[in-house]
C-alpha cells in the first residue's frame, strides 16, 4: 500500500535518474477469500520497468501471471481481484487507486492494448474503419471526416491492401492476419506511449505470426513508443525485443537485455526455459520435471525450488528478491 | 498372465461421499423442496382426508373453518378434492412426460448420430406434428377415440415426443464429433454403446430440465382438455375439470369453486418450471 515511489535507493540501474515510462513494483494481486474459502495470489510481488522507446517482452508459461500484470496496468483487473500490495506508475503518476475516469483516459490514450483474439477486440456490428475513426474522434476531438481519413491512412500503413474499401468491411470479412492488423491500427490510433500486446500472434500460423510481429515492431519503432510484448515463446521474445522479463508463478525471475539474458541465463528457471527451446537430437528435448505450483497463499520460498536442479537449503529460507547484477536483475540466491 | 486377482490390489476406491453431498445440494434448491412437498401431498394427503366424492350439507358454501376452500355445486369439499386431484394430475403429467422422454430422447440422439435421410425424415415428421396446434391435435384424437385416462396419457405423451426429439438432437449434434466420442470409436465401441455411455449422459441435464417443464405442460394440457370438456369428466377430482365446473359460478360471486383448483395448477406449473431453471443453472 505504499505509494511513496522508488526512494529505496537500490533499484537504480543504468541511466539512473531517468524515470522509466512504466514502473511496476512489488505488485501483489489476490483473488477470493470469499464464500468458497479458496484464496489465490497469482501475482506475488511483480517488479518491472519499461523505459521509454523500448521493446520489452514478458515471457512465461501459462498461468504465470503475464496477462494479469497487463490488466493491472490497464486498470482492468477481473472481478474479484484485489491489489494487495505494490505500485504501478506511468512516469511518476501512480495508477493504483486512480479513479476510473482517469484510467479510461489513459487506456486507448497513452496506453494501448492488443489482445490475442482480434475478432474479440473488434465490434462485429460496426465497420472496422468506423470503429477506428470513432476512437480517434473521441480521443483527439477531430471531426468525422478527418477521423475517417486518418483511420483509412492507418489501415493503409498497417499493410491492408485497398484500405479505403476494406475500411467499410466488418471484422468477419477479414482473415485472421488482416483482423490483427486492424486491431493494431486501432491500438495505434491515439499515438500511445506504451503498447501492451498480449500474445498478439498466438492463434496464428508461424508464417503470419512473423508478418504481424514485423509490423508491430516497425510501427512501434517509427512512433518512438514502448512495447510490452506478452508471449510464452522465448524465441519470439528474442527476435523482437531488446529487453526481456521472465515470469514464473507470479514473480519476475529475471529481467534485462535480451541478448545478455538469453546468452547466459542467471536464473535457473530462465535457463530451463531456454533449454526447452533448443532441440539437441532425436528424442532429447529438454523437459522441466514437475509442474507449476499453485499459489493459494503468500510464497515462503523460491517458487521454482521444487523443480530446480540447483536447489539448496538457502533457497527455501525466503522468497529471493530481484537483485541487480550487472545490466540485469535476477531473483535467485545462487546467482 | 495367470490371474491371481489379489496380486497387488492396486485399485484405490473412490471417495464414497459424493452421493450424500449431492443430496445436500439438492435440498439447498428451494424449488426442489416445494416440488417434493407437492408430491408428498399428492401421495399421502388423501389418506388424511375424506372421500372426495362425499357430499356435504351445503352446496357452494364459502370457505370456512369446516371447508377451508368452501364447497362446490355438488356440496363436495373443495380442499379434499384439490388434494385428491393432485394425484391424478401429477401422475398423468409424469407418466406422459416420461413416455415422451423415453421415445423422444433415443430417437433424437439417433437422428443426430446417424444424420442423413433418417435424420431428415424424423425431423420432418416431428415438424409437421408440431405444426398443428397442440390442443387441436389432442382434441381431434380424443374425439376420435373415447376419452379415458390411458388415452389421454398417450395423447399428451405423443404431442410431447417431438419436443424431446428436437431438443436431444440439437444437444447431441455437437457431441457426435467431439473428441471423446471419436476416442470411444477408436476403442472399438459400437454406435449404441457410445450413445448410451457417452452421449446421453452428457445431454441428460438439458433433457431433465426439459422434463420438468414438460410435466408442467402435460398438466396444463390435461387441465385444458378437461376444461374444454373432452378430458376428465366431473365429478372425478381433476384440477382442470374443477376449474371448468366452477367457472360458471364465478360471475355469481362464488369465486372459490374455480379459484382453488386454478391456484393448484398455477403453483404446480410454476414450481416445475422453477425446478427446470435450477437444473439448468445449478451444478
Amino acid at each position: 500500500m505504499n505509494a511513496g515511489g522508488g526512494m529505496d535507493g537500490i533499484d537504480r540501474g543504468p541511466g539512473a535518474g531517468e524515470i522509466p515510462l512504466l514502473t511496476v513494483e512489488d505488485l501483489t494481486v489476490g483473488f477470493g477469500g470469499g464464500e468458497d474459502g479458496g484464496m489465490s495470489i497469482p501475482l506475488q510481488g511483480v517488479s518491472l520497468r519499461v523505459p521509454r522507446a523500448t521493446r520489452m517482452s514478458l515471457v512465461g508459461e501459462s498461468g504465470s501471471g503475464k496477462s494479469l500484470t497487463a490488466s493491472a496496468v490497464l486498470g482492468l483487473l477481473p472481478e474479484g481481484a484485489r491489489v494487495l500490495r505494490g505500485s504501478i506508475r506511468l512516469e511518476g503518476e501512480e495508477l493504483i487507486g486512480a479513479d476510473e475516469r482517469r484510467m479510461r483516459r489513459l487506456r486507448g490514450g497513452r496506453i494501448a492494448i492488443m489482445f490475442q483474439n482480434p475478432r474479440a477486440s473488434l465490434n462485429p456490428v460496426h465497420t472496422v474503419g468506423g470503429q477506428i475513426a470513432e476512437v480517434i474522434r473521441v480521443h483527439s476531438g477531430a471531426g468525422r471526416r478527418e477521423s475517417r481519413n486518418r483511420a483509412v491512412d492507418l489501415l493503409d500503413q498497417m499493410g491492408i491492401p485497398d484500405a479505403r474499401r476494406r475500411a467499410s468491411d466488418y471484422v468477419h470479412q477479414y482473415s485472421g492476419g488482416m483482423a490483427q492488423r486492424a486491431v493494431l491500427a486501432m491500438a495505434l490510433s491515439c499515438r500511445p506511449d506504451l503498447l501492451i500486446a498480449d500474445e498478439p500472434t498466438t492463434g496464428l500460423d508461424a508464417t503470419l505470426q512473423q508478418q504481424v510481429l514485423d509490423l508491430v515492431i516497425e510501427q512501434v519503432k517509427a512512433r518512438g513508443a514502448s512495447l510490452l510484448l506478452i508471449t510464452h515463446d522465448i524465441a519470439i521474445a528474442r527476435q523482437t525485443c531488446e529487453q526481456i522479463a521472465v515470469m514464473y508463478a507470479g514473480r519476475v525471475m529475471e529481467s534485462g537485455p535480451t541478448e545478455e539474458v538469453t546468452a547466459a541465463a542467471a536464473n535457473p528457471y530462465t535457463a530451463a526455459l531456454l533449454k526447452a527451446f533448443v532441440t539437441v537430437d532425436r528424442g532429447r528435448m529438454y523437459a522441466i520435471p514437475g509442474t507449476v505450483p499453485t499459489l493459494s497463499g503468500p510464497l515462503a520460498e523460491c517458487p521454482f525450488a521444487d523443480r530446480c536442479e540447483m536447489v539448496g537449503p538457502e533457497c527455501r529460507e525466503r522468497v529471493p528478491e530481484l537483485r541487480r547484477i550487472g545490466g540485469r536483475e535476477v531473483a535467485c540466491v545462487k546467482a | 498372465m495367470t490371474a491371481t486377482a489379489d496380486g497387488q490390489a492396486p485399485a484405490v476406491s473412490k471417495p464414497p461421499r459424493r452421493r450424500a453431498r449431492a443430496a445436500g445440494r439438492l435440498l439447498r434448491r428451494p424449488a426442489f423442496v416445494v416440488l417434493l412437498l407437492i408430491v408428498l401431498i399428492a401421495l399421502f394427503g388423501p389418506f388424511f382426508l375424506g372421500d372426495p366424492l362425499e357430499l356435504g350439507p351445503d352446496t357452494l358454501a364459502a370457505p370456512s373453518m369446516q371447508n377451508w376452500f368452501g364447497t362446490d355445486q355438488f356440496s363436495m369439499d373443495i380442499f379434499t378434492r384439490v388434494v385428491h386431484a393432485a394425484r391424478l394430475d401429477l401422475l398423468v403429467g409424469f407418466i406422459a412426460a416420461a413416455l415422451a422422454v423415453l421415445a423422444g430422447m433415443p430417437l433424437g440422439a439417433l437422428a443426430a448420430y446417424r444424420g442423413g435421410a433418417f435424420d431428415t425424415l424424423l425431423l420432418r415428421v416431428s415438424e409437421s406434428l408440431q405444426a398443428f396446434p397442440t390442443l387441436l391435435l389432442a382434441l381431434g384424437i380424443v374425439t376420435a377415440l373415447s376419452p379415458s385416462i390411458p388415452v389421454l396419457v398417450m395423447i399428451i405423451a405423443l404431442v410431447n415426443v417431438p419436443v424431446y426429439l428436437r431438443l436431444t438432437r440439437s444437444a447431441v449434434q455437437p457431441l457426435v464429433n467431439a473428441d471423446f466420442v471419436l476416442a470411444a470409436r477408436c476403442a472399438g465401441k459400437g454406435q449404441f454403446t457410445i450413445l448410451r455411455r457417452h452421449v446421453l449422459p452428457n445431454v441428460s441435464e438439458v433433457v431433465f430440465a426439459q422434463f420438468s417443464v414438460n410435466v408442467a405442460w402435460a398438466i396444463q394440457i390435461l387441465a385444458a382438455l378437461s376444461f374444454v370438456g373432452v378430458g376428465v369428466k366431473l365429478p372425478t377430482p381433476e384440477w382442470g375439470a374443477m376449474v371448468r365446473g366452477g367457472a360458471d359460478y364465478m360471475i355469481y360471486g362464488q369465486w372459490w369453486v374455480a379459484l382453488f383448483p386454478g391456484l393448484a395448477i398455477l403453483a404446480t406449473v410454476l414450481t416445475l418450471n422453477q425446478v427446470a431453471d435450477e437444473i439448468r443453472h445449478g451444478s
Binding site: 508464417t207 512473423q210 510464452h232 537430437d281 507449476v292 | 473428441d179 471423446f180 476403442a187 472399438g188
Partner: protein
C-alpha cells in the same frame, strides 16, 4: 499372423477427401481438404506431416482412422485395404491404429472417471477379465510415469500434461502398430512439452510402434520425425528425410515455414524465404502451383500444374524451379549431394 515386420504398416495411395457443406441458402459447397496424397509408414518409424492450419493434416489422420469417409484413394493397413471396409468389420482392426488428440481435455468424457475411459480400451474386443484389465490399466499408467490412483479422478481434476500422458497410456492399452498423433503437444506448456515428446520417443524405441505425427511445432517434429512431408492446401509439396527437410529444404513453402519457426538449430542451406499473405482455399480451384500468391519466386510458368518430382537425392518436390533451376530460388551449390540417416 499378418505380414509380420516386413512391409509398411500403412500405405496410402492417391487419397482424396472432399468436405461437402451447405451455406446459409442450402447451396452445396465442396471443399477439397486432401487432394491426392500418397505415402507409406514403415514399422517403428515416425512420419510427420507439417503445414499451416487448414492445409488438411488432421483430415488425413481422421480418414485413416475411418472417423470420416474418404472420397477417393486407397489405404492399406497391415496389407489390408480399409477404405471400402464396412465399419463393423473394421472395428476389430482398430486395435492396430490408434490416435492421440490435440486437446486432452476434449478427448476424455467429462462425466466419466479417467479409469472408466481407460477401461474401454483395456477391454477392447472383450476377452480380458476385469482383473486383467485393472492390471493392464495400472501398468499403462505407470508406464507414462504417473501413479495409478490418479485414474479415479475426472479429466478436469488433473493437469493438461498429466491428462495428455493418460491419453497416450489409453491408446497404448490396445498395443497398436500405428499411432496417429494430432498435435500432441500444442495444448501444453513449453516446460511440459519436452516431457511428452521424450515419453513418446521412449515408447517408440521400446515398443517399435510407428507414428504418424501431425504438428505445427517444427521443434517437436525435429525431435520426433524420421521422415517429413510438407503439406499445403491438401497436397504434399515436399517429402524427405528429416535432415533433408530441415537442413536442405528446397521448396519455397518449406523454407518459408522453417524461416518463420525461428529455429536456432540446424543451419539451413540457401537464402531465407519469407512468405507473404495467408493460406487461402481459393487457390485449390486453380490448376497451377497453389503457393503462387505467396511465393517470392512465382512467375508465369508457375501457373501450370506442378507435379511432385524427384530431385535425385530421394526426396520429392512440387516446384519446377526447385528441380530445374534451384539457383533461381536462392539454393546455391549443393543440391544433388546424397546422404542418409
Amino acid at each position: 499372423m499378418r505380414e509380420g515386420m516386413n512391409g509398411p504398416v500403412l500405405e496410402v495411395g492417391e487419397l482424396v477427401k472432399d468436405y461437402v457443406t451447405r451455406d446459409a441458402k442450402l447451396r452445396q459447397r465442396v471443399a477439397r481438404a486432401v487432394d491426392g496424397i500418397s505415402f507409406a509408414v514403415q514399422p517403428g518409424e515416425t512420419f510427420a506431416i507439417v503445414g499451416e492450419s487448414g492445409s488438411g493434416k488432421s483430415t488425413v489422420g481422421r480418414v485413416l482412422l475411418k472417423l470420416t469417409d474418404a472420397t477417393e484413394g486407397n489405404v492399406h493397413l497391415l496389407g489390408e485395404e480399409i477404405l471400402g471396409m464396412p465399419e463393423r468389420r473394421f472395428r476389430a482392426l482398430r486395435r492396430h491404429i490408434q490416435m492421440v488428440f490435440q486437446d486432452p481435455l476434449a478427448a476424455f468424457d467429462p462425466r466419466a472417471t479417467i479409469r472408466s475411459s481407460l477401461r474401454e480400451f483395456a477391454g477392447f474386443g472383450g476377452g480380458r477379465s476385469r482383473a486383467e484389465q485393472n492390471r493392464a490399466i495400472d501398468q499403462a499408467i505407470r508406464d507414462v510415469g504417473l501413479p495409478p490412483e490418479i485414474s479415479w479422478r475426472r479429466p478436469s481434476q488433473v493437469s493438461g500434461g498429466q491428462l495428455q500422458r493418460l491419453s497416450i497410456a489409453r491408446s497404448l492399452l490396445v498395443k497398436p502398430q500405428l499411432l496417429f498423433l494430432d498435435e500432441p503437444t500444442s495444448s501444453l506448456d513449453v516446460s511440459i512439452r519436452g516431457q511428452i515428446v521424450n515419453l513418446l520417443v521412449e515408447i517408440q524405441d521400446r515398443e517399435g510402434i510407428a507414428y504418424l505425427l501431425v504438428a505445427h511445432d517444427l521443434r517437436v517434429v525435429y525431435v520426433m520425425a524420421h521422415r517429413v512431408a510438407v503439406m499445403y492446401l491438401g497436397q504434399f509439396v515436399e517429402i524427405g528425410t528429416r535432415d533433408q527437410i530441415y537442413e536442405r529444404a528446397r521448396h519455397p513453402y518449406t523454407r518459408g515455414l522453417l524461416e518463420a519457426a525461428l529455429l536456432d538449430e540446424p543451419a539451413r542451406a540457401g537464402d531465407p524465404v519469407r512468405l507473404t499473405g495467408e493460406i487461402s482455399e481459393e487457390q485449390v480451384r486453380k490448376p497451377g502451383c497453389r503457393l503462387t500468391p505467396r511465393c517470392p519466386f512465382a512467375e508465369a510458368r508457375c501457373d501450370e500444374p506442378q507435379q511432385l518430382r524427384p530431385t535425385g537425392d530421394g526426396r520429392l518436390v512440387r516446384c519446377w524451379k526447385a528441380v530445374e533451376v534451384p539457383v533461381s530460388i536462392g539454393l546455391h551449390g549443393s543440391g544433388s549431394s546424397s546422404e542418409g540417416r
